[in-house]
């Protein structure tokens, strides 16, 4: 294990420049270095992140515990020996290791598969089954909306007629045939085009297209992060000073994330405005869109659980405890992932203030297993979108 991310104090003006430099080490530099959250149900590993080390081996980053200010980094292969994992976590751990999953979308699918086994209880299993079904539908629907937009650009009247029957399988099949006809008219290779449509669809369905009547999952999550920030800020106004300050800090981190996410989403939507052109120029434009989509997924990684944990906490007692559980898990923006100098300065400032609060669940400090917390994390899984 190694300990990273210690704070450095400043005692004289001569040390200011080195202090400002060392402040940068409070943050990882990229999303990949920050790692993707793995939704374990073992309390000590809640909000832990997986990433690669410099030798391409998987490692797990665990947030502050035992009264420390730094994070702990553990070789993935050693995790099972060091921690008493729940069966669900052992299953998920193996999936991540075997398939070397390192990004949020892949982790999410692996987590849904693990929950579907029933190893985290019947509630999580049922929710996972339902979510996977919804996910599959959303994927199909997103692709059909893209197809219709392409047809619309080529032949407006055909699109209007197809729109009416979109929800049926037959309607969707007709849409694909119409697409094929439109593509041939444009003198493009249909098989190649079809493959590009499929790639475009799978890249964009977690976010959804801006012209869909129903917002995609990432857009809904962004809205939930906004609601979380407003809720916790409003709650904090009636609390004693230290709790009020923590609540306001959570609000600021949420606001900062949404501020950057909105700009990324704007770029994403702009790129998606003309899908026909995007598909025609796929080798050049596809990667650009992919970067926007991945960035958005990384920006919002870790927020779903935090938001649901907060809204699930009913009553003042539970809310105060949840605030302390949320604080060390807040997803701070890595220093090189800010879009400009202003964002970078804001990220650094947030990281510096985050170090002031380290307060952990008592049981975590003693290292004793916490069955109540495990159960809470299992039930939380059932609420995640």
């Amino acid at each position: 294990m190694s300990e990273v991310g210690h704070d450095h104090s400043v005692s004289t003006p001569e040390l200011v420049s080195s202090w400002q430099q060392s402040r940068q080490h409070l943050l990882p530099s990229t999303f990949e270095e920050r790692g993707a959250v793995v939704p374990f149900t073992t309390p000590l590993l809640a909000f832990a992140r997986v990433r690669k080390d410099w030798r391409d081996r998987l490692e797990l980053v665990i947030g502050p515990f035992a009264g420390t200010a730094g994070s702990y980094v553990i070789a993935w292969a050693a995790v099972r020996d060091l921690f008493a994992l729940t069966s669900h976590d052992a299953y998920l751990y193996e999936q991540v290791m075997e398939k070397k999953i390192l990004e949020p979308h892949g982790i999410r699918l692996a987590a849904l598969e693990a929950a579907r086994t029933g190893l985290a209880g019947p509630e999580a299993a049922e929710a996972a089954e339902h979510t996977l079904a919804i996910e599959a539908e959303a994927r199909v629907f997103n692709e059909v909306l893209i197809i219709l937009r392409v047809i619309e650009e080529v032949e407006k009247s055909a699109a209007a007629a197809l729109m009416r029957d979109l929800v049926t399988e037959e309607g969707q099949a007709r849409a694909r045939r119409a697409l094929g006809a439109a593509v041939r008219r444009l003198d493009l290779d249909p098989a190649e085009f079809d493959q590009r449509v499929s790639l475009l669809g799978s890249m964009t369905y977690p976010i959804g297209v801006s012209w869909s009547a129903e917002a995609g999952r990432m857009r809904r999550l962004m809205q939930r992060v906004i609601e979380f920030g407003e809720s916790i800020s409003s709650w904090g106004e009636a609390r004693p000073p230290e709790q009020a300050a923590k609540a306001e800090f959570c609000h600021e981190v949420a606001q900062h994330t949404v501020h950057i996410a909105r700009r990324v989403l704007e770029e994403f939507d702009l790129t998606m405005t003309n899908p026909l052109r995007l598909l025609r120029e796929w080798p050049e434009r596809g990667p650009v869109l992919g970067r926007h989509a991945r960035r958005l997924t990384w920006l919002l990684d870790g927020w779903a659980a935090i938001v649901e944990l907060w809204f699930e906490a009913v009553g003042e007692g539970r809310q105060v405890v949840t605030l302390d559980q949320i604080m060390p898990a807040l997803p701070l923006i890595p220093r090189d992932e800010a879009l400009d100098e202003g964002d970078r300065a804001a990220s650094n400032e947030i990281a510096l203030r985050a170090k002031r609060w380290v307060r952990m669940n008592e049981n975590w400090r003693t290292g004793l297993p916490d069955p109540e917390m495990t159960r809470r994390l299992e039930l939380l899984k059932a609420r995640l979108p």
């Binding site: 029933g118 209880g121 106004e237 007692g317 008592e362 109540e372």
Partner: protein, 438 residues
């Protein structure tokens, strides 16, 4: 039966039934119900209903209307106890003591009360302004009680505690704000420092310290932790020791009574969790008490272990194997699986106290039966899944995998993760092998 007696009995039965219903509501609905009752919270029946629901009120802390009276009572709210005591124990404050105290203060300084009420009204919804009014209200109360306390049978001790708590109110409230939510799991270094600093502050100001310590003891999951801190710092004075001992013994006795009242409505795993917590607190507190208080506590809780043991045996150990059997049937519904998991979890949690309760033998027997059944399920499912005939993910295959993992989950809940992981590792190994060969 006279009509009057019948009406009283009916009212008591209805109250008890309402109290039970309140306790059973999901958290959100409970909070909503309390908000509905808040406008009539001063009525006797509602006060009694709140008494029935007190444990959940403490846990969930729904929003209650802010009044001068409520702010006045904040420093000693942790010491409040139900009215079913004929006389208050040393350090406790029955709720029926609030009204005579309030009447005395209102009569002694009506302009002062009027001024404070107007300030509170002016503060409106501004939480900061309301909070800043606290010290003025406590000073008003403390000043008015400095020379004379109210008089009511059996409440002299309670009035003295309330007076001392009001005198030490700023220190008590500062501690409550800085400490984690109750019940406090223990006293770490930071919390210990806050307690010692609080004591020093009160001594420097010439204020009483006992109410402060009583409040801390009442907020701890195990009051024994406070004794250990004080003993390390040079012991407790004999007078203080007696009061803390009595307080701690009362906290445990109250918890035992509260457990007795709510046990019938608890699901198996909640029953086991509360039972385990109660017995652990009883043991730790008993060890830390002086001989007199220990004897009194043992007297009050005589038969508790047997009673809890009987409850766990009848409601967890005996029915658990059958509940698990139902969940291992083909395609059980969610409620059946959830029930089985509750029983398995309860067995797992009860193992620590099984020997104390004389249940070790029967518990191990139940777990062995469950394990045997789960192992048989796993073996059956593996035999099917290892057949080479499977063509991808079919509903039948998914159902078999579901049954397999359900059995592993139940083993985990009853016996622990380390055992379940070994089973899981073997199962996954065999499935992987079958997949490679297929």
């Amino acid at each position: 039966m006279s009509a009057e007696f019948g009406a009283t009995l009916a009212a008591e039965t209805l109250l008890s039934a309402l109290g039970t219903k309140l306790r059973q509501l999901p958290a959100e609905k409970f909070v909503a119900a309390i908000e509905l009752l808040n406008p009539i919270a001063e009525r006797r029946t509602v006060i009694e209903l709140f008494d029935e629901a007190r444990p959940r009120l403490r846990e969930l802390r729904p929003v209650r209307p802010i009044t001068v009276k409520r702010i006045l009572c904040q420093p000693f709210e942790d010491l409040l106890c139900s009215n079913d005591r004929a006389a208050a124990r040393d350090g406790a404050v029955p709720r029926r003591a609030i009204e005579p105290l309030w009447q005395l203060l209102a009569e002694r300084d009506p302009p002062g009360l009027d001024r404070l009420s107007r300030c509170l009204k002016a503060a409106g919804g501004d939480a900061k302004a309301v909070r800043e009014l606290g010290p003025a209200i406590w000073r008003w109360g403390s000043g008015a009680l400095a020379h004379r306390l109210p008089s009511a049978p059996g409440l002299d001790g309670a009035f003295a505690v309330m007076r001392d708590a009001l005198a030490s109110a700023p220190t008590i409230e500062d501690f409550k704000c800085a400490a984690p939510a109750k019940p406090l799991a223990g006293i770490d270094e930071a919390l210990g420092k806050q307690i010692i600093q609080g004591l020093e502050r009160l001594r420097n100001e010439g204020k009483p310290t006992e109410a402060f310590l009583l409040v801390i003891a009442a907020r701890l999951a195990s009051p024994a932790d406070l004794f250990m801190l004080l003993d390390k710092r040079g012991g407790r004075s004999s007078a203080l020791a007696r009061r803390l001992d009595t307080m701690a013994a009362q906290v445990v006795t109250d918890r035992a009574r509260s457990f007795g009242r709510m046990a019938a409505a608890l699901e198996p795993d909640a029953l086991a969790t509360h039972a385990e917590g109660l017995l652990r607190t009883l043991l730790e507190t008993s060890k830390a008490l002086g001989p007199a208080a220990r004897g009194a506590l043992e007297q009050e809780t005589m038969g508790l272990a047997e009673s809890v043991g009987g409850m766990l045996n009848d409601r967890v150990v005996v029915p658990a194997p059958e509940a698990v059997e139902r969940a291992l049937a083909e395609r059980p519904d969610r409620a059946t699986v959830a029930a089985a998991e509750s029983y398995a979890r309860a067995l797992g949690r009860s193992r620590k106290i099984a020997t104390t309760l004389g249940l070790a033998g029967s518990m191990e027997g139940a777990i062995t039966r469950i394990r045997g059944r789960c192992d048989a399920q796993i073996a059956r499912c593996l035999d099917e899944l290892e057949r080479p005939a499977w063509d991808g993910e079919t509903p039948e295959r998914r159902a078999l995998e579901g049954a397999l993992y359900r059995a592993i989950r139940l083993i985990e809940l009853a016996e622990g993760s380390h055992i379940a992981q070994a089973v899981l590792a073997e199962v996954r190994g065999r499935l992987r092998q079958a997949s490679e060969l297929g």
